[in-house]
């Protein structure tokens, strides 16, 4: 019976009545309050993926290099020389909306733990950020706080933050996105996982003491934001990067000793989720006594202990008899390491307080939330998008283009992001080969000559206008960025940020997006090794643009093959690989200059994409590519301008004035286009490689002087362009 009392309880725990009935069936009795709370958090969207699970299953997850696909704390791929790369992306959107500095900082802390928990040393961080428009004071506050939070946390840890993306669009006004990605490396043989196997093995809590921080944070992340969110928010989690640094060093040292059976970080839903996930992965049970857990505050209840999201803690299952070894290592780092229970054979999660049982439920049942197949309806706005006619947009006069280019370069979306990444220590550990500011960043795998190219990409306006194709393009663009830095794309992690999946139009976006990712990942042979889904990104009923962020990792056999986007030497020849079509739909140009966020997306031919990427990879291997840069937001003109900035080297460009309207030539965002420069002496070899791969290529000019000239459309001093491009964000942010 759904009494008022029960109704309140269910609402408090975020459970539906059907879900409650499923719990009754599983238990064969009524759950007590603590048990109900455990189901509440574990079956929250954030922990259970109940609306996305079925869709995620359709993604490709296998390839020659995948060692660990989705399901663990992070994915793992082999990168040769007996080494593995470990990586994952995670969102911290809601916490960052409420408390930008701490929300973003603890987001970084969480993803770093996901990586070192697999035994890997984190070697690089990236972050993908979305905010409302910067002309709003609150948005500036959120933006500034998020960047400072990421910076302070990562910098203190001594992990370089080497890349990411930063976009501004009104759809994120009340609901910013903060996704953090971490990449680590380790010898393949040192892999560990988060399973609690071995009946009788001790269960230990290590790291920070537990307070009442962020209780029910997972449930909070599974609701839409509203004006009341301020009041409802769980007590905010505060990060302690120094503690995390100690925890990381201690855990890596511990894992090397070989005494660890399983280890898992305590993220969302803290002790509850870490214990039941470790047990259910191994098919075992866990029994623990909360009275043994080191507490930061007085009079904590079992409920507080189980649901607290205090940061910088881990759950460790060592081999029996090795407790002292664990303690010894953590002691040296000045950290707690306490046995709180043991692995049991009964499959139950048993929670005691001072020896008295407070809750006992099958661990697998907590991890086995219902799976939903929500209804999906094509949103009506797509009709208008598809019927958009470009001919209604005026073509600018020749003498307007200089100003248009400057306006684009000085817009927050296309301007330099140095204001962001200079707050991040992107060089610490002396392995950063390609610094932020180019396409993908490249980090060396220490002790080898190998490098990993990493990038995050997503054009969410594209994904809004066409979720399927927009997501395909995101994958292709990520791969293109890896290739432009000299790498070969290997695998991805995905950060899916969407609105409320219970709304059919939103679920349509999600389903289409997954389908697009599937198609592109298959074609490019870059499987998905893990990721994160963040739903309910809405504010006052308004959803964000669908934002499936693609975090991609690629391999360079030798870091000396690394390529950057900037022009290197006067006289180098400039080529455009790929085709420019009359495609302005969804472009930054249409949005900024004409105020239109609509239109059909540029086409994407995955076979051509592959061939073009292959061409660049081969040319890189022949060591003839001096610079490479893909054409993304802002099109050809912006890409060329970006390549002039670093060294102040201009270019003289002649493009055949053909069928495509001039603004589309300059600013259209046709896909699969890469600008490369080569020395004159390598012309023949380069053309051979292009024709062997049958890709369209045209020589468009050469590196020359200190001006950028494109036909009779653009003629501007690089210094001037650079000033506008560089100062845009600093200027806005200093006018607080």
């Amino acid at each position: 019976m759904l009494t008022v009392d029960l109704q309140e309880k269910l609402a408090f725990n975020g459970l539906k009545f059907e879900e409650y009935q499923k719990i009754l069936d599983m238990l064969g009795r009524e759950p007590n309050d603590l048990e109900l709370a455990l189901y509440g958090v574990m079956w929250s969207e954030h922990c259970s993926y109940k609306h996305s699970k079925a869709q995620l299953k359709t993604l490709p997850t296998q390839s020659e290099c995948v060692l660990q696909g989705p399901g663990e704390n992070a994915g793992i791929i082999g990168i040769g020389d007996g080494m593995a790369a470990v990586f994952k992306i995670e969102s911290h959107n809601h916490p960052s909306a409420i408390e930008p500095y701490q929300g973003a900082a603890t987001g970084v802390g969480g993803i770093v733990r996901d990586v070192f928990t697999m035994g890997a040393r984190p070697i690089a961080l990236l972050n993908s950020l979305r905010f409302g428009n910067l002309d709003n004071e609150h948005v500036r506050y959120i933006f500034g706080g998020v960047v400072a939070g990421i910076a302070d946390y990562g910098n203190c840890l001594g992990i370089p933050t080497v890349g990411g993306e930063t976009y501004f669009n009104k759809s994120y006004q009340g609901n910013p996105l903060v996704n953090a990605m971490c990449l680590g490396v380790m010898p393949v043989k040192e892999m560990v996982t988060g399973s609690a196997s071995g009946i009788g093995n001790p269960v230990m809590v290590v790291g920070a003491a537990t307070g009442r921080d962020g209780i029910k944070g997972a449930s909070f992340a599974s609701e839409e934001l509203s004006a009341e969110s301020e009041e409802k928010r769980p007590s905010v989690q505060v990060g302690d990067p120094f503690m995390e640094k100690l925890l990381m060093e201690a855990c890596l040292e511990l894992i090397k000793t070989g005494v660890v059976v399983g280890i898992q970080d305590m993220g969302a839903a803290g002790l509850a989720s870490s214990s039941c996930e470790m047990a259910s992965r191994a098919g075992t049970g866990i029994e623990l006594d909360v009275a043994l857990v080191p507490a930061r505050e007085k009079e904590m209840t079992p409920y507080d202990f189980m649901l607290s999201e205090s940061q910088e803690r881990m759950l460790v299952v060592p081999k029996k008899g090795c407790e002292a070894k664990v303690k010894e290592i953590f002691d040296r780092w000045g950290l707690n390491a306490v046995v709180v229970g043991q692995v049991t054979a009964d499959g139950n999660l048993t929670i005691k307080e001072d020896g008295v049982i407070a809750a006992r439920v099958p661990a697998a049942s907590l991890a086995d939330a219902p799976v939903y197949h929500p209804e999906s309806v094509r949103p009506a706005y797509l009709d208008a998008v598809e019927s958009f006619e470009l001919s209604q947009v005026r073509i600018p006069e020749t003498d307007e283009y200089n100003d248009i280019l400057i306006e684009l370069l000085a817009s927050p979306n296309l301007s330099s992001k140095a204001w962001v990444y200079q707050q991040y220590d992107h060089m610490v550990r002396s392995n950063t080969v390609v610094l932020p500011g180019s396409d993908a960043a490249v980090v060396r795998v220490e002790g080898t000559d190998r490098g990993l190219a990493v990038t995050t990409d997503c054009n969410s306006r594209f994904c809004y206008l066409n979720p399927y194709q927009g997501t395909m393009i995101a994958v292709a663009e990520a791969a293109r960025n890896v290739v432009c830095s000299g790498g070969k794309p290997l695998a991805i992690t995905d950060g899916m940020n969407f609105g409320n999946p219970e709304k059919p139009e939103i679920f349509y976006q999600f389903r289409e997006s997954i389908a697009g990712m599937r198609a592109a990942c298959q074609a490019l042979n870059t499987p998905v090794t893990g990721g994160n889904v963040s739903f309910y990104n809405e504010h006052s009923g308004q959803a964000i643009y669908p934002t499936p962020i693609i975090g991609m990792v690629g391999l360079l056999e030798n870091i000396e093959d690394a390529v950057t986007m900037d022009f290197k030497d006067e006289g180098d020849l400039i080529f455009l690989i790929g085709e420019t079509k009359e495609e302005l739909g969804g472009s930054e140009y249409l949005s900024l200059i004409h105020g239109l966020e609509t239109g059909q997306l540029p086409e994407l031919d995955l076979n051509l994409e592959k061939a073009i990427q292959q061409t660049v990879i081969e040319a890189v291997q022949q060591k003839i590519i001096k610079s490479a840069h893909d054409c993304a937001e802002g099109g050809l003109a912006v890409a060329l301008a970006e390549s002039t900035m670093a060294n102040g080297l201009g270019a003289e460009i002649e493009i055949e004035d053909g069928e495509v309207r001039s603004d589309a030539v300059l600013f259209g965002e046709s896909q699969s286009r890469i600008i490369v420069t080569i020395a004159g002496k390598d012309l023949n070899l380069f053309m051979q490689i292009c024709s062997a791969n049958t890709v369209p290529v045209q020589r468009i000019g050469q590196v020359k002087g200190d001006e950028l000239k494109i036909n009779d459309w653009i003629n501007a001093r690089v210094e001037l362009l650079k000033l506008q491009w560089q100062e845009a964000i600093p200027c806005i942010m200093s006018q607080r």
């Binding site: 408390e99 701490q102 307070g211 007590s235 905010v236 989690q237 505050e297």
Partner: protein
């Protein structure tokens, strides 16, 4: 003119790594007799206002908008009337 002394302290129950670090630092130096350490910010400034009530209204507003972060900090202040127009 009024002089304001404003204390901005971390909210009770919220982790405060700064305080912990100082506490541990003192302990390591042998000051075992120190306890309950909390660390926060202190600001003093003058404000021109018609009267105490107006000054207070300003201070409240400034705290909410800039000087304190209500999500993780509490503030208290004292107002003194001082010379100066």
């Amino acid at each position: 003119m009024f002089k304001i002394e404003l204390k901005v302290m971390p909210r009770k129950g919220i982790l405060n790594p700064q305080s912990t670090a100082v506490k541990n630092g003192l302990k390591a130096m042998g000051y075992d007799n120190v306890d309950n350490l909390e660390m926060g910010k202190f600001m003093e400034f003058t404000i021109k206002a018609a009267d105490r009530a107006e000054a207070e209204a300003y201070v409240e507003e400034m705290c909410k908008r800039l000087l304190a972060n209500p999500v993780i900090e509490d503030y208290t202040y004292q107002i003194y009337q001082v010379e100066g127009e």
